[in-house]
């Protein structure tokens, strides 16, 4: 199979959707410029015309609202926000309108809109140009939220999102744009709500989103060298998320690390940890570890940035910590069992 980068895979999905479905069009800031979208939208406007690839004024609210309106009228628009930070100006159309419309009107009017937002951080950009806000949208019923971590999923989830018929937030990460991966030429869907097991393992489950899923794979290699057999799950969709795959894994390993390169409090890791602690209570052999950003805005200065962003190393440390905790409890439990045994005699 061919290898494409993550960005190229997105571009292929766009091109195929545009070629295949006349209802699809793209609207947003920077869609005519490589600066905003990297290779992910490259020259689409040359191929499909500026009528269908619309680079918009700086009006996040109205462009998002317009995409929703076009969706209500039967189109399949994809809105593009080159940074999630800018999309905060469009929270009303997304959360009040798109998310509610189907429910309010009992499914009589559907909102088949895809809202693509990029996480674009690092490079000394600072607090207002770095945010990863998936949790805000995961909190809201009526929205689906996907976060591809591989080239294959970047393509397949975009196609699934457009075909879904509901409002889908498609969140990509600029740090992944150049990652290569095998990508089929034909159109295919990656089902929304299904996670992917990237590595099978028995010692500890590592469940991660987007960029952290890629880091988790790296982390598992380090862990392997240290004799730890990690299972790595790429969540792919955060809303809905694949409870079954995650719970089955935790039931097997008894240990869980959740990694999401976003804020901790009320974030994706909070929901996963809370749900797993509830549903796999008796299987957990140690407290769940959450690998996230600190609850601090993004700084600019390079050394502060370096301290700010977690990666494979933090996942490795978290996995080891969880396993230590398990050991410790195991030791205590055995000791007490032995003690009880002795007392019993």
């Amino acid at each position: 199979m061919r290898a494409l980068t993550y960005a190229q895979a997105m571009r292929e999905a766009f091109a195929q959707l545009l070629a295949f479905d006349p209802r699809v069009f793209v609207i947003g800031q920077g869609v005519w410029s490589p600066w905003y979208a990297g290779a992910s939208l490259k020259e689409l406007e040359k191929e499909f015309g500026r009528d269908r690839i619309i680079d918009s004024p700086v009006s996040e609210n109205a462009t998002t609202g317009a995409a929703i309106g076009a969706a209500l009228a039967g189109m399949r628009p994809i809105v593009f926000h080159p940074r999630m930070d800018f999309m905060l100006l469009a929270v009303d159309p997304i959360v009040n309108q798109a998310a509610n419309w189907s429910y309010i009107f009992a499914g009589q009017v559907q909102v088949p809109v895809v809202i693509r937002a990029s996480i674009n951080r690092g490079g000394e950009q600072g607090a207002q140009h770095s945010q990863a806000l998936q949790a805000l949208f995961m909190h809201v019923p009526g929205l689906k939220v996907v976060m591809p971590a591989t080239a294959y999923d970047a393509k397949g989830l975009l196609i699934a999102a457009v075909n879904d018929g509901n409002p889908v937030m498609y969140i990509d990460d600029r740090w992944l744009y150049d990652e290569p991966g095998e990508v089929p030429e034909e159109m295919y869907e990656v089902p929304i709500g299904s996670a992917a097991v990237r590595r099978m393992g028995t010692d500890v489950s590592i469940v991660a989103t987007s960029y952290m899923a890629a880091q988790a794979v790296n982390a598992s290699k380090v862990l392997e060298r240290r004799g730890i057999d990690a299972e790595v799950i790429d969540l792919r969709s955060v809303s809905p998320w694949d409870r079954e795959t995650v719970l089955n894994s935790v039931r097997k390993t008894g240990c869980l690390v959740v990694a999401d390169a976003a804020w901790k409090t009320c974030g994706v890791t909070a929901e996963l940890a809370a749900s797993v602690a509830e549903e796999a209570f008796d299987d957990l052999k140690a407290p769940i570890a959450r690998v996230c950003l600190p609850d601090v805005p993004a700084p600019t200065s390079a050394p502060l940035e370096k301290a700010y962003y977690p990666g494979a190393e933090e996942i490795v440390l978290a996995a080891e910590r969880v396993l230590d905790q398990k050991e410790k409890r195991w030791a205590i439990a055995s000791r007490s069992l032995i003690r009880k045994h002795i007392t019993a005699h």
Partner: protein, 340 residues
């Protein structure tokens, strides 16, 4: 609503013949009697959802929708019973919705502030002020991309022009030359606030000019004037000449929300209302009809007919069922795979 399917860009006759005036009168009367009946049901608390009545503004929805076809899209806000009825929405489904019944137009999920009638082009009314303005622009964009002759019409109040996305929307509509007709119903109030407490100038229609689109201010209580302005705007839109902003000046007779006449949300405004009651859009049309020779008996007969229709609708609503509790979680998502 205009009969016939969408037209092909030929300029439309803007003169109003008696048959059309009669039809518009009937529409206004349906709105008036529905609203005033609802007011009573609000007073008796038989209807309990927050309800913003349209009494006094009937000529605007009526005149505009008379210039549209069933295929055209409209959108509304919190005060949209009139838009729903003028576009041809089913009156029984409206009443049932107010009662929260499953036979309501939104199956009891929306109440007064969330109305829908996709079968006649009303894609939704929602109460976030100005929310449907960009949405209507997007529907117009859909029409343009598909090469249709359809137009898209958001109805909104003077208050909505204070939201930034109203301005963003004017720019998008102008820039993409979209078939959208912005209908601003300036009733001088946003809730308890008079327009002079919210803006320095009384010139909403001028936002059009500065964005390079057509704009006009008109008497929103004159159904003929509204109809004629709407027809021109619709013609321009269908002919690719882009959007229009119409500021229709009017007054709501009842309070911001609920049935109160003289006082609500903390404002007394009896005096102002006294000035506006004689400008009743229905009385004006009735006068024109009488002058044109329509016998009083017919006029009275129409009123009785409409009254019966509204009473029927209320009965229907009363007799309908509530949605079953088990439905609570339905419709969060549609299963749209089917229609791909």
């Amino acid at each position: 609503m205009r009969n016939g399917s969408k037209r092909n860009g030929n300029p439309q006759e803007t003169s109003v013949n008696q048959a059309l005036l009669w039809e518009m009168y009937r529409t206004m009367m349906r709105i008036r009697i529905a609203e005033e009946s609802i007011a009573k049901l609000l007073e008796s608390e038989e209807i309990r959802c927050p309800t913003h009545l349209y009494t006094g503004q009937e000529a605007i929805a009526t005149g505009v929708c008379a210039a549209l076809t069933k295929e055209d899209y409209i959108f509304g806000g919190h005060r949209s019973h009139g838009h729903y009825l003028a576009k041809g929405g089913d009156i029984r489904a409206l009443m049932a919705e107010l009662y929260g019944k499953v036979s309501g137009c939104a199956r009891g999920r929306g109440g007064s502030m969330h109305l829908v009638a996709p079968e006649v082009g009303l894609l939704g009314t929602v109460p976030l002020v100005a929310a449907t303005i960009p949405i209507a622009v997007g529907a117009a964009l859909a029409c343009k991309l598909r090469g249709e002759q359809r137009v898209s019409v958001p109805f909104f109040g003077d208050g909505a022009t204070e939201e930034g996305h109203f301005h963003e929307s004017l720019n998008l509509a102008a820039l993409y030359c979209l078939p959208v007709i912005f209908i601003c119903e300036n009733n001088l109030y946003s809730s308890h606030m008079h327009i002079s407490e919210r803006r320095v100038k009384g010139n909403i229609y001028q936002f059009a000019e500065v964005h390079g689109i057509h704009g006009a201010s008109l008497d929103g209580n004159d159904v003929i004037a509204v109809y004629q302005a709407a027809v021109k705007a619709v013609d321009r839109a269908r002919n690719g000449a882009g959007p229009t902003l119409l500021e229709c000046r009017t007054y709501r007779w009842r309070g911001h929300v609920g049935p109160a006449m003289d006082m609500d949300v903390g404002v007394k405004r009896k005096d102002e209302l006294k000035d506006w009651l004689p400008k009743d859009p229905l009385a004006r049309t009735r006068f024109q009809l009488a002058k044109a020779g329509r016998p009083q008996t017919e006029i009275d007969q129409l009123e009785r007919e409409v009254m019966g229709e509204v009473q029927n609708a209320i009965r229907f609503a009363r007799e309908s069922f509530y949605p079953p509790k088990n439905d609570l979680k339905d419709y969060v998502f549609v299963d749209a795979k089917a229609d791909n």
